[in-house]
Amino acid sequence: MAERVYPRLVAARLRGQASYRASFALLCVVSALSQLVELAVILIVFTRVSALGGFSVDEVILMYALAGVAFGIADMVAGQLDELPTYIRTGTFDVLLLRPLSTLAQVMTSDLHLRKVGRTVASAAALVYALAHNDIAWSPLTAPLVVVAPLSGAVIFSAVWVISCAVCFWLVDGQELANSVTYGSGAFTSYPATVYGPWLRRFFAFVVPGAFVAYYPALALLGRPDPLGGHALLGWASPLVAAVTAVVAGLVWRFAVRHYRGTGS
């Protein structure tokens, strides 16, 4: 009897929200707009310059869109982790420990803000635009990459989210720090890695593997070599990087929960 518990938990949350229909539609639009504001920023920058870090406006939009879809999905899957400090403070986390389920999955499914769909949809629209306006090196390899890259990116973002929120088990006020990493890496990935200084670039490319969300996959889609001299295969490495970060995130979470149960609140 394999009952799918987590979809039921999410469905129950959605039913709980269903009573606020009008605000839901509004928030959906707001979420989409907030994503489009970032696009506007890119377009405004390009009224002054013709290239950013060596990339044209359409190429930057491609990266922005890949990152946006990935971030939008991750925000829906892992965004609930932002509530972790509240759960710890109010003792709700103890209740999660009393159930025969994984704590991480319970926190992730403890709520789902469907309005966040707005961001994903807006980004997906931008992706369609970018694919049409760039000279994509279409092949049996690049075509699946259009789907695989944002999904891998979503896993990478989610893993980063888990790792940075796990800080809250040590610092209950660690949310600001966590947000600077999650939302910070979200902003980083929307631009070509070439616009950043070398240290920030290295940090967000390899410590927080943000460059694998949009930058490298976009290079592969465009059939361009990396101006920074990275290997051409890096463009295809996103799923692997995603798998590794997911495993690391799982281990960090386990370690963090063990610490919590060892010290208590």
Binding site: L9, A12, D94, L98, P100, L101, R258, R261
Partner: protein, 318 residues
């Protein structure tokens, strides 16, 4: 069912001692606690605030890991097999909800059924049983946030029982409830224990809960067990005095100089007298005879010391 040996649990407190300096200090919340609970027992775990009750409960239910010591609950090590344990026991925290705030009670139960993988017919039968006994019917379809505290607690207890746990752990289950709701809960829990054989472990500040539900009491203070035994034995041990209350036909100013009486007071203008006597020195029968020799007796009752008295004396004895 529960096996605790030399349980110790430390917390590290960090206090600021200067602008940048912090001092870490280990605080012992539970120190060398040992006790056993057999299947089918109902045990009250009592003690003042900060005695270590909640910490013990959290260790027993797998929320916290012990600093050291041996703990087995329902045959498993709670800190290692948290999920396995969760399937076997039910837990009710009076101060924390297991239910989904904005869903009808019934939907919360449905989710728990999926979480604990209870077969649908078993779930329906157990829910019907609880709904009958706890009278949940009128508010099964009400969102949890709209329930009164008493209604919510009945929901919480049902939620903890739907997977038919062999052990039910309750942390302050009657806190904040009115008298009627308390009584109803106690009746249900007593029935659960005696008829279904579910083992009960409960912490409480309300000693009526103990009197009504728990033949055995474990008293804890400052992290260690002060006493463990049947309520009756504890009473005899720490409160060897009893009270004889006599109502007289005619008022008498005072009944002084009765053998074995340690203190006496009168009320109702001398119509009723409270005589405190030591069990070891005289018997109620001898005392009644002595009183009857002095005045015409209308009615008599012999009172046991109140349970809070017993616990207070245990604390004082340390």
């Amino acid at each position: 069912m529960i096996e605790v040996r030399d349980l110790r649990r430390e917390f590290t407190l960090t206090t600021k001692t200067g602008r940048f300096r912090r001092e870490k200090r280990a605080v012992l919340a539970v120190d060398a606690v040992s006790f056993d609970v057999a299947a089918g027992e109902a045990v009250g775990y009592v003690g003042p605030n900060g005695a270590g009750k909640s910490t013990t409960i959290k260790v027993l239910t797998g929320v916290l890991a012990p600093t050291s010591g041996h703990v087995r609950v329902s045959g498993v090590d709670p800190s290692r097999s948290r999920r396995e344990l969760a399937r076997r026991i039910g837990v009710v925290f009076g101060q924390r909800s297991q239910l989904w705030w904005d869903l009808p009670l019934r939907d919360s139960f449905d989710l728990l059924r999926a979480i604990y993988r209870v077969p649908a017919p078993d779930h329906a039968r157990r829910l019907r049983e609880c709904a009958d006994l706890l009278d949940l019917g009128p508010f099964l379809d009400t969102p949890v946030r709209q329930l009164s505290l008493g209604q919510r607690m009945r929901g919480e207890i049902t939620a903890a029982l739907l997977h038919a746990p062999e052990l039910l752990v309750l942390d302050e289950p009657t806190i904040g409830l009115d008298l009627e709701s308390k009584e109803r809960l106690r009746e249900f829990l007593a029935d659960l224990n005696t008829r279904r054989g579910t083992t009960l472990l409960l912490t409480t500040h309300d000693l009526d809960d103990i009197e009504r539900l728990c033949p055995r009491l474990v008293v804890i203070d400052r992290g260690t067990v002060l006493a463990d035994g049947p309520l009756e034995a504890l009473r005899a041990e720490v409160a060897p005095e009893r009270v004889l209350v006599v109502d007289l036909e005619e008022p008498v100013p005072a009944l002084a100089g009765l053998p074995g009486v340690t203190s006496a007071r009168s009320e109702l203008n001398g119509l009723r007298h409270h005589l405190v006597f030591r069990r070891a020195e005289t018997t109620a029968a001898a005392l009644i005879a002595a009183v009857a020799a002095r005045a015409a007796v209308h009615d008599i009752s012999v009172g046991e010391p109140e349970i809070d008295d017993v616990v207070r004396r245990l604390y004082a004895r340390r």
